[in-house]
């Protein structure tokens, strides 16, 4: 896959990871952004034209101050589709990206083909509060996000040597930039009233969730099914919140079967 640069009509400069041929699939990353290696995208690109834009503040993309609230984020998603010249792409969103994808689909229900929500954020159940992503200590992050935390830690850091202070500082600053942006739609509670807009969804929808997701647990899956009754559901075994990274084969299998 290769990087491509676009500028949106609003003025955000966006880096897009692109590869493959076929029906266009827009992949929206989660609050942690794309990692150093994203094997599930490579796999998806064997069958589809995959385009994965990085939000401002993530990777090399800039224009953070242009996006302040949920509407900005959702419109930015469509601005990116426009700048890429895509016609009715499939939209796949993971975690926070699922929240943005669902908002995009509620805003412009006829402008996408199918919708995949992978461990989506965006709902809040008072009796089942989610862990506070913004108060986790570094060593706790992998425990919440992965079925296998030890493997997860290696995936998150991409093999960086943290004895190197400069590398540590860069990683920290990158993390602050990413979560600072994510906080605009996830802090202090990741609920921007998406639930009251979900009635507008028209696209066929797949929910795909890791069996041991500790960030968005089973009660939320049930709530999504209540709000989007036509949605199909696929579980991925031996995977947590980071299911695309933990079980790329099973994840891409479920997505491909649904997208056709």
């Amino acid at each position: 896959m290769n990087f491509r640069w676009i500028e949106t009509a609003r003025g955000a400069k966006v880096r897009v990871l692109e590869g493959g041929k076929g029906a266009p699939v827009l992949f929206l990353h989660g609050a942690g952004g794309l990692l150093a290696e994203n094997p599930f995208l490579d796999r998806l690109a064997q069958r589809y034209h995959v385009l994965s834009p990085e939000l401002p503040g993530y990777g090399e993309s800039s224009g953070e101050t242009l996006l302040e609230d949920m509407l900005d984020f959702a419109l930015h998603g469509w601005d990116v589709v426009e700048a890429l010249g895509l016609e009715r792409p499939h939209v796949v969103g993971h975690s926070m990206g699922g929240m943005i994808a669902a908002e995009m689909a509620c805003l412009a229900p006829r402008d996408l083909r199918k919708l995949v929500l992978a461990a989506p954020m965006g709902l809040w159940i008072p009796d089942a509060p989610l862990p506070d992503l913004f108060a986790l200590l570094p060593h706790e992050v992998a425990q919440v996000l992965f079925h296998d935390p030890a493997r997860g830690t290696a995936l998150l850091t991409g093999g960086l040597d943290f004895r190197n202070l400069e590398a540590l500082k860069d990683f920290y600053i990158g993390n602050v930039k990413r979560l600072g942006m994510a906080g605009k739609i996830l802090f202090p509670i990741p609920n921007r009233r998406l639930a009251k807009r979900l009635y507008r969804l028209r696209a066929e929808t797949l929910l795909v969730v890791g069996r041991s997701d500790r960030l968005v647990p089973a009660a939320y899956v049930q709530r999504w099914q209540e709000l989007v009754p036509r949605a199909q559901l696929a579980w991925v075994d031996a995977a947590g919140h980071m299911l695309p990274y933990e079980e790329p084969e099973a994840f891409v299998g479920a997505v491909s079967r649904f997208l056709g």
């Binding site: 108060a135 602050v176 990413r178 605009k184 802090f187 202090p188």
Partner: protein, 415 residues
């Protein structure tokens, strides 16, 4: 020199094993540890101490705002200040301050500060902190990356409300008000002196210099650690070609005075260690919400106060460490005078926020230490900045003809 007697108002009944059994003194500290019936006496004792400091001749008496915090019992410092405004008539009332991004709408701050200025006869020093991440983001739910923008808008609104004589409409990003009309307005014109407490954000230095506000460096790290940071501020002052009046800056310092150095340790060590070991036990996950600090500030490396490493430092501190590391200035009047002078000259500050009550210090010890300082230390430190004598740009300007409420209350009853 101006000395302000400051009380953080800690809860003095945290259990001995607090650090082992709880993860944080702030944000999610169990509120079952608070006992409102004991709290009744605690508030009155702390307010009495502030009034006592006024009677002893401190230039100011100070309060601040924290939320869900075991060492700061003032979610609303304005309530305490209102009580002080009624019972004192000499000292400046330093409210350092109101976290203006947290008030909805922030015109509330313009109104309440104006009320305090009017009730006190023009004695208000008005602090506008951005607020710690613990207070602002974790307790009050503000979005970290937008906090500073919201703060800037609140500041603009408050200053316009105080200084404009016509009703105006305010179409802000966070506040839309069709009729802004501050009633009452403050006595001090164009507005009370503004103090900006900061923990080392470089944007804050420029903000202070843009508006000629006082920069107050509030830390518990003491003056030896404060020096590097304040040097950064003074370098910025020079770069901006502002005058170097020491009254542009304030510093908070823990102080304890006894008859001898040994006596100071005997009287105060356990209470000050209570403060460092229990009150500063903050869960690192709450210290710095991503987005709260700007990337520029992080890159400058100026922040160190509440990092995980600093937490570890606080766990191991002994009295000797506290003294030698400059966290605490304690000892005989002569020892304290020497070290205060070293601190004031070293930091180049004209204002000191003096922390005499610390942790679970009993009332009589707090008063003893306070009185020794007022009688035997403070008089010798008054004239350290002769070249800036009379520079009152950052001090209150009360009405001459104002009510003196303590006369009718019987001033002697307070000491």
């Amino acid at each position: 020199m101006k000395f302000t007697w400051f009380n953080l108002m800690p809860w003095p009944f945290l259990p001995d094993d607090f650090r082992q059994t709880h993860r944080s003194v702030w944000v999610d500290i169990p509120n079952t540890l608070y006992d409102p019936r004991r709290g009744h006496f605690v508030y009155h004792q702390y307010m009495d101490q502030l009034e006592y400091a006024d009677a002893l001749g401190f230039d100011g008496i100070g309060v601040n705002e924290h939320h869900q915090n075991g060492y700061g019992l003032m979610p609303s410092p304005n309530l305490i200040a209102a009580g002080l405004a009624r019972r004192t008539s000499r000292a400046a009332i330093a409210v350092i301050g109101n976290s203006i991004a947290l008030y909805n709408p922030p015109i509330r701050v313009a109104e309440e500060f104006a009320m305090l200025d009017v009730i006190s006869g023009g004695r208000l020093l008005a602090g506008f902190p951005v607020g710690t991440s613990m207070d602002t983001n974790y307790c009050y739910g503000q979005i970290p990356a937008l906090t500073r923008d919201k703060y800037a808008e609140a500041h603009e609104l408050i200053m316009r409300a105080w200084t404009e004589d016509e009703v105006f409409a305010f179409d802000g990003k966070y506040n839309q008000l069709r009729y802004v009309n501050c009633w009452p307005k403050p006595i001090q014109k164009p507005h009370p002196p503004i103090y900006i407490p900061g923990g080392g954000s470089i944007e804050t230095w420029d903000f202070c210099l843009d508006h000629d506000y006082n920069y107050s460096y509030l830390s518990f790290g003491g003056y030896l650690r404060g020096r590097a940071l304040l040097q950064g501020y003074w370098d910025r002052v020079a770069a901006r070609q502002k005058d170097e009046s020491p009254y542009r800056a304030a510093f908070a310092q823990i102080i304890a005075v006894a008859d001898t150095d040994a006596e100071a340790e005997k009287l105060y060590a356990e209470h000050i260690l209570y403060f460092f070991n229990r009150c500063l036990h903050v869960y690192p996950g709450f210290a710095d919400a991503p987005g709260y600090r700007t990337i520029k500030t992080i890159q400058s490396g100026a922040l160190s106060q509440l990092t995980e490493d600093m937490q570890k430092v606080f766990t191991k501190l002994t009295w000797k460490d506290l003294i030698e590391g400059g966290y605490v200035i304690a000892g005989s009047a002569e020892t304290v005078r020497q070290r205060m002078e070293e601190m004031i000259r070293g930091l180049h500050v004209g204002h000191v926020f003096c922390l005499f009550h610390n942790g679970n210090m009993p009332d009589e010890k707090t008063r003893h230490s306070t009185r020794l300082f007022a009688e035997r230390v403070m008089p010798h430190l008054r004239e350290l900045w002769p070249e800036w004598k009379g520079d009152d740009r950052w001090w209150c300007k009360p009405m001459e003809e104002r009510l003196r409420p303590e006369a009718s209350l019987g001033g002697g009853a307070r000491s």
